[in-house]
Symmetry: D2
């Protein structure tokens, strides 16, 4: 069986294991105060053009989201996001567990608009009986693989700024977003158009790890307290530093993401050619074709996908993921199988 279920089904890029081995017996202080972390942070500040940002390393995405949001908001504040947002549907209420309401807005292919944000803020007014929006959360790429373009992101940020809301970009799949053929955002555009963002390692070449970049100085004080309280201050913090050093060197992170998206686009072309409908047309490493039961039965003899949703009585949308680790020959086989359907 060849798995296209997710972008976290393999270990990590070999260069990372190599570096972990080389440094394994070096002695360093704990909790991310080591040189590897300091250097990785500096590389990220440079690459994303945000010299005054605070850069922190956490292990996982839910942890990173919950920590950033809890650090930014007051008790009575909530976070606006698309109803499909990871924090709204796939984090077992981690945001609410630290006391904050997720204020879900009806998304369109995983995205929300600045108009929706303005309306939500206007509706709240400043009524103490309702949760005050304090932050907007978007994911880039979104949970369904879609993107915000430069103009949309800029627009969201301006709107947030005017309304006194923080804009937080969940970049669990940031690499794959930037690698999309239709993307017009540069790395530095992210940092310039939000208050905080994450750079996902887990799904883009690392064993694990999410970088939290706090661009807005108001979010920076005592963030490490929040990390510790949320169980996110890794004792051997250097494991994260080493991984992100490796990923930032020679833009390895971006190269790996490019590979994944190129392979996804090859699959997409095959689906298009076969007139397979798409639940969402994603230009990144996740595809959401709708197969008939018969087609799916055939494909699942050799390939595994994630079930996305039952579309009607005889067909199902699945998620096909590529990743930094996807082998071209596996994609060839999948394409051949699609062509045979």
């Amino acid at each position: 069986m060849i798995l296209f279920c997710s972008d976290y089904q393999e270990g990590c890029h070999p260069a990372i294991l190599q570096r972990l081995s080389e440094t394994n017996l070096e002695q360093t202080p704990g909790y991310g105060t080591d040189d590897m972390c300091l250097q990785a942070a500096e590389m990220i500040r440079k690459r994303f053009h945000c010299e005054n940002a605070a850069v922190h390393f956490l292990v996982g995405g839910t942890q990173a989201n919950a920590t950033v949001i809890d650090a930014a908001l007051r008790s009575y504040e909530g976070v606006l996001c698309a109803d499909t947002g990871h924090i709204n549907v796939h984090e077992t209420g981690a945001i609410e567990a630290s006391g904050h309401k997720v204020l879900a807005l009806p998304g369109r292919d995983g995205r929300i608009t600045s108009a929706q944000i303005s309306v939500a803020a206007a509706l709240q007014g400043d009524d103490e009986h309702t949760v005050r929006p304090g932050m907007v959360y978007i994911s880039l790429s979104t949970e369904v693989g879609t993107l915000y373009n430069r103009s949309q992101l800029h627009d969201l940020y301006q709107t947030c700024h005017q309304l006194g809301l923080y804009l937080f970009v969940d970049g669990a799949r940031l690499g794959y977003a930037l690698a999309s053929p239709v993307n017009d955002l540069q790395a530095e555009d992210i940092a310039a158009n939000c208050d905080a963002f994450t750079i996902g390692g887990t799904k883009c070449g690392a064993l694990f790890g999410e970088v939290v970049v706090l661009v807005n100085p108001a979010l920076q004080p005592r963030f490490r307290y929040m990390m510790k309280q949320h169980g996110g201050l890794l004792a051997k913090g250097r494991l994260l530093g080493i991984q992100f050093q490796t990923l930032m060197e020679n833009d390895l992170y971006f190269t790996l993401a490019d590979h994944a998206v190129k392979e996804a686009m090859r699959i997409r072309t095959a689906l298009m050619n076969k007139h397979i409908p798409l639940a969402v047309d994603s230009p990144t490493n996740q595809l959401f074709p709708i197969f008939t039961d018969e087609q799916l039965e055939t494909l699942e003899e050799d390939f595994a996908f994630s079930t996305w949703e039952r579309v009607n009585e005889s067909s199902t949308a699945v998620r096909i993921c590529t990743s930094w680790a996807t082998r071209p020959e596996h994609v060839d086989q999948l394409i051949a199988a699609i062509e045979k359907l």
Copy 2:
């Protein structure tokens, strides 16, 4: 400089890196549902003689403690522990952050007694104006390296059982406890005398990782929900499975701990010979000598320790840690330096 600051200042035992490399490109499902995790869990159940226990893998100790405690307690329940307990002093209020009061009892060398627990429960009575004790937390070895012996642990467990309290053993340094020359507990005694315990990997040979073993069936249902909500469900859960498989094979975990404690005991002997006083006399991998300022200045030319506490105007207690990674030649050098004081 040779660091004796902590037991998490190196990477991991090379066998783990080896195994991570070998399995790196295998495809597995995420979140700990893979075979490596299943096998590691089975090995642990066997080794600790607790066939019906639920075994889960988390990344860090604060995360593991907070998740277990939050899963076990109702809102109005708190957790009794020694005032030196990790959850009371070194987790930035993570337990309180999920709503539970830590009910600190004056510890004696890091330990509490069943008499103290009985008194605390009796004092509470069943008064709804006060926090109800719902659990007792002990660490083994304790934060100051001391132990509970078999009779003490059994006694605590009986008391807890009679009072309707869960007993939770934080085993962040469980390996080092079991390896102590004065220890009379077997692995299976732990499982037989508590409701839940952890097996620390981070400080005992792993890159990271703590095993949560839920012995009491009442603690088992939907624990994975709690893990996810606490940000502790690792996407590539297999990284934990692989590490603990490796550590459990041929009792590597115990061998590594033996090494650390043997080296610590060599240092302890040198300190004794030199009549250096100890803030706490620990029989495990942490030592707490009290050095004069002059002595410390001399030693710190070549060695680094953790500052523990200022004892008086001219002397300081430090913590010297050995670990699975401590090199005998480094210990030789430290001993030589102590002898020269």
Copy 3:
């Protein structure tokens, strides 16, 4: 100005003040352990035919809701409710503040159906990445004055029971629901068809006070701890006991509610006669007429309403509330004004 803004704009029924005066200097123990509370609880158990229910008295509705929900749910569980539900929109995230996600379903005139609940439970499956529904919250009457009939309530309860969910009925306006001409529920039907419900005093004749009736024994243990922790254990608990004794005597509570609904129905008839459209057609003490700007300007010379929502460029839905304290002559004046529009 005559206020029809809400059902809490006056003090209380004079019989309550009378009783408070009579008992004022009696000495009683605190925190609701006094005889007045015990007797009021017994009267409620009898009147609602739930002899084994635990009955508690709290001061306010948000407090009562948050306490009941927090007491019933585990951390990873959420509460299903209509998107218009008070807990979802008007409690400043009090439910989330104690860690629980409110799982909003699209309501129809403030109501949800058992079909919606079944679908929500089925969608969750038992996936630890998502919040598990643990309770269904409905309000009766709803926030827009509508009702569940006997068959609907029974159906909801059966569905909840089958799915392992608690059903909680927020009866902040329970009196007004039972007094509706279209209602077919008896007091005892409420208790027989849910796990917990409240009986609102604040809006139905009391100075303040909500009764929490815990019908399901699973919800009863240590509820007073939860009350205290939520700041809801009134020192002079007897103030609540005295009020609900008075309200339960000779069915005063129901008599007062009848009055309010009758007056509301008179206004409703006037609106109907004048062909004023209704945003929601409520058969209880809240009405939601849509007035043109011109009509509203005229009416607001003498009367005050709550703004509900702007409907279009030239008209607005308002809320007209009657209560136990509404004077018939004020209603006469309002009707006359409506007729003149």
Copy 4:
């Protein structure tokens, strides 16, 4: 039986019931936005000489404490207080329930010193592994009836200010503190020497109600959101406004407190004359005599006290409370009984 158990065992001063009756059918807007509340707030600002303070009215003390503390602190911050502090021992973990650790210091007769605060702050340093003190909580009078004098309060406030900590004075029994013969604080000294304080009504003449006075402007923004989220925004807020208007008029609040303390001092003199030892020597309305079992048995034929603590095998400390409602003839009877012992 004559009860001396607590200062909340009667209703309220008759003038309050009178005023509630007079205003009962007036129509006002809800949630404390009415004129009665505005006027009461203004009276308090004047009486306590704090013209820029924000004044809010809550129902109970636990609610008031939890709301103030939660509003003031960040997640990672805790509140320093005496180990006997109400928030530490008698609020069922309400502070922890909103995520904040109570950092208990060993009190001396219910008090802490600025030296203790300085040491606690110095020990924390700025170590992200430990809870940062963000506030100091003291009660005045304390839970054992003792006082801080002007110099001590000033000293605490200076220390807090220098250390970046808020000072919060729990004045659940503020009236009784100010009425003590040994007190040297004026009302205005309270406001001038803390960041926030409460003025307790429940125990000093009101049916219920605690005033929160936020002197420090940093604590003022959006406090009403916090009140609502904590279930503390009373629908008929005016009930609180009316009560505190009445209590502030002609200094009724202070007159009532004077009465209670005078009566307590008469009992204290009788105890002294009889050489009854005191567990704590309180100069306010709470006394803590230690009676032998025999003495207690005799007294409890006619009087009820609160048990405080068992002192030794044959004697018990009890709490005797007087209040605004204590009748001189009851005190006469108690004194006579003491004299007869």
